[in-house]
């Protein structure tokens, strides 16, 4: 498991998730475009572009 944020797909247990408010790094912002429309400063999360798969998220 790498410490480097290389954007590869990973599978993470609930126990290991610690949600943060921080603005994502530029690299993560660029990769996020695959699934998300934009980062919302107000809501402190990415706005989903995969509503066809996760309609309620």
């Amino acid at each position: 498991m790498g410490r480097v944020e290389d954007g590869s797909p990973r599978y993470v247990a609930e126990d290991n998730v610690q949600v943060v408010d921080d603005e994502p790094s530029p690299r993560l912002m660029a990769l996020a475009g695959q699934y998300f429309k934009r980062w919302s400063d107000v809501e402190r999360r990415f706005i989903s572009n995969i509503k066809d798969e996760y309609p309620d998220d």
Partner: protein
Amino acid sequence: MRDKFNGDVNKVDWKGIFAERHNLGRQVSDGISDILSEQKGRLAKAENIVSKGYDVKDALLQNLSVEDSAEDVLARRYYSDVVLGLLHRNMALQEWVKLSKGEDVPLERALVGFDLFVLHSRTGDCDEISNALDNIAELFRQEVPGHVEMNTRDKARALAGYLRMHDLVGIKCNIDENYHNLQNNFMGIALQGADHPSLPLISVAIYCCVAQRLDLDAQPCGFPFHVLAIVKPREGLDVVGQRLPERQFGDPIYMDPFRSASETLVDSLKLQLETLGIAPSDQSSYLGCSGIPEIVRRSAKNIITSVQTLSRNEGVSRLSTTDPTPEMDGAFYSSLWALTILAEGDRNTTETLRAQFLPYIVQRIESHFPMDVLLIEKFITPLLSNLPQHQEIFNAIRAMRDSDARAPREVKARTTETSGSVPFKVGQHFKHKRYGYFAVITGWDVECLAGEAWISRMGVDRLSRGKHQSFYHVR
């Protein structure tokens, strides 16, 4: 459309061009919006944009640099980059396929193919590289006014001297450490300006491409271990301009712009060949022009060597698209394609070689370049037959097509049940409690759905609730 810029100003229908361009721009933006609107059917939508021709590039670049405040900024930039990559690779493969069929492809168009795989929005596609080479030739004409009268040898040396002085060829600092740097393999990157090092092959390519613009017949010679330029005098003359009997060709000279501005004497080359155990009677093939396909294959192998060297030196992660250094993935991928399309030998040999490379190409398409199913269909399927190993490729293509047609595989709505047991949501930014990295949630499962092998390798059972807790797909 770009050709029209070279035509007579008065003859060109500028109003018509701007209307055409505006219309195309809108079609491209709409096409991107279409891709963004749902996961299904993206292949056809991307193909639709690319099929409008290379002129869509400007519109793609505009979408790629949409303002930060746009409602779909990240998605639009991402997929514009994806389609731009597809457009670039399509161009590269077109040229390599032409080469593979024995058609004439200029050296610069053949080599820029590698650049196109890693270019993204940087400057350095076919037209831009040709312009850069034109500019260098023009500057040479201005700075070296006596060049017109020069004989072949003097001109060859003057050009090498000029290119070296302006750092357009060779590696200036720390040759040993930097020799296998990935960027040294890319003509476009080498031409970006001073201090951009290049391997002998690329240095020679730049030399030859500029030389040809100056009426100097210079071509790459694939000498063992170190590519050289072979410069031939005009028919009926020798390299110092003396007349020869009509129809006779004088002996060529050899230049090594990577190392020096001076000529490399053929005797020293013959000596090197002898040391390598190559008998004088066999030497002529090593001393002649290499075909352009051979140069492309050689560059592909150089790239693979550079990538392998980089991988061995640890700590190299995937580089961002704004990083001027070419990404390892894209570079390696370009070489796989080049070696597949330009596989050399008789029919059996080429079939075997291709069968070796294709699974690696498919693997990368599945993981990094999903749109490239389109490129396999266009450029590879014509080369395939009924062999069993080819059947696997057909199957992989069909699977990817199906996946695109049916996407998403499953719709995961939140029931009252899942709402409770899946506390985190798609789009949340988080830190991994154990490994410390930051990532974003892109999906979830109510329980761990990985196979037993993964579960035991990752030590899932050591977690307090083991595999019976929600698991998240993340990037």
